[in-house]
Symmetry: C2
Subunit: 161 residues, 2 copies
């Protein structure tokens, strides 16, 4: 059975007011190339998002999640490609030794410095939400290339600059 390409997860590990960020600099033709994102990836056949996040975090960081929180769902529309449905997780409970990641460079970044990194525009919005929202949120982001042309939060339009 083919893996669905349109359902993905991303996870931000938290430790001492830092997030584990991934600088994507190892894959060719990477839509995320040169950007800092969280760890994650596509669900495999018959995998739930919560199974996927445990597997992807282990593969990409070496850490085993002891717990995680579903924080939101992102609908990510990029040019004319089919929409991606991206489950956003955070975790501050994990164990193991950090390993190297095939897809880029892992680095613990103080939360206060995240906004200075080269991020997707919409990621700046949800990083603020991760700090301020306790409930599950839903964001839709429409990109033309690197430009965020439309953004809605819980169905309501958000100004993009």
């Amino acid at each position: 059975m083919e893996n669905p390409r349109n359902v993905t997860v991303v996870c931000y590990l938290e430790k001492e007011d830092q997030l584990l960020m991934l600088y994507r600099n190892k894959k060719k033709n990477d839509v995320n190339g040169g950007k800092w994102i969280g760890v994650g990836g596509h669900v495999e056949a018959n995998e739930s998002p919560e199974e996927c996040v445990v597997r992807e975090v282990r593969e990409e960081t070496g850490y085993t999640l002891l717990d995680y929180r579903y924080r939101g769902i992102l609908t990510f529309c990029y040019n004319d490609e089919p929409a991606m449905y991206l489950f956003l997780f955070t975790s501050d409970r994990f164990t193991g030794e950090q390993t190297e990641c095939d897809e880029g460079e892992l680095k613990w970044i103080p939360k206060a410095e995240i906004d200075q990194l080269d991020l997707w525009q919409g990621d700046r919005i949800f990083h603020k939400l991760l700090e301020t929202r306790d409930d599950f949120f839903a964001m839709k982001m429409v990109y033309e290339g690197d430009t965020l042309v439309e953004c809605t939060l819980d169905g309501k339009k958000v100004e993009v600059s």
Copy 2:
């Protein structure tokens, strides 16, 4: 662009301790045929789950949602078919006049009587969760035909009988 078939929404409208249930008796070869479910359906191309639930509720019930809550994500594995990712919503704020539904018969059912209906086994589990959980939950259900052979809640195994 083709609509993705693996991302769906279901919504339970609530009013005076009743839920609006849909008895699926109008479609041929309906995997839900003869069962009571909520209203909902597949996302269309580039549609977010929150846009989809507003559209599907309007199409299937005539009601316009004024608000809704994301309650959980269900990973639904049925025989050898690709997994479905099903966003579970509830709403007690909607307006308009109820219309007929093409896909079955709509009926307001007292919450206390839901469990007496012909439901998917896993639906009995999440209907209880809708009453007891305030936070977002994740359930994976594996069916062989009508039989629920495996169920996990937030990544932990649930006994199925």
